[in-house]
Symmetry: C2
Subunit: 109 residues, 2 copies
């Protein structure tokens, strides 16, 4: 469920709550940002879940290091999406950037 | 959407995918663990989202420091829930523990 995480990996947690507006353009942007993130240097992986009933979502992306997480935040097309998010799509949101310390996984047989 | 995060705060990201089994006992456990977590020393906040269609969920909890995050993992009742999670409720899961470095939020007016 998570990528391999090298020493120094960074996790970015994005909490958001959608407004009711403009679902089609939002879905298009979300898909585009997912594709664009995957092309960035240092991108390791992303998981995103939204509850369709409450509108609450959590997106967790993993990065090789802090520099790559910062560079993605500054990407021009991503900045434009962030602006539209603030103005149109999100009732509220929070972003938390953190340094991975340990992790463990398990898959059923 | 996130609590106040003091210096030294820790974030725990729990990714999981549910099996199809035993929805009622799962829901009961999930509610109990949510209540129990909130009583722990050092607990700051938790947000949890699951997509009912895919079964994928992300729970993000925030802790005052690493010691409080570790203590919650070792709580006896929580350990029993973890065991049942492994055995019955989750097809797979991953936990990532990370040290908060920075964060920003915005609420619509």
């Amino acid at each position: 469920m998570i990528p391999d995480l090298p020493d120094g990996a960074v996790v970015v947690v994005f909490h958001s709550r959608r407004t009711a507006e403009d679902g089609a353009s939002y879905a298009e942007m979300a898909e585009r940002m997912d594709s664009l993130a995957r092309e960035q240097p240092g991108f390791l992986g992303v998981r995103s879940v939204r509850d369709p009933h409450t509108g609450e979502g959590i997106t967790v992306s993993y990065w090789r290091d802090d520099a790559s997480a910062r560079a993605w935040k500054q990407d021009a097309e991503h900045r434009e999406a962030q602006r539209r998010g603030r103005d149109d799509w999100y009732a509220d949101y929070s972003t938390v950037v953190a340094a991975v310390e340990r992790h463990y996984s398990r898959s059923a047989e």
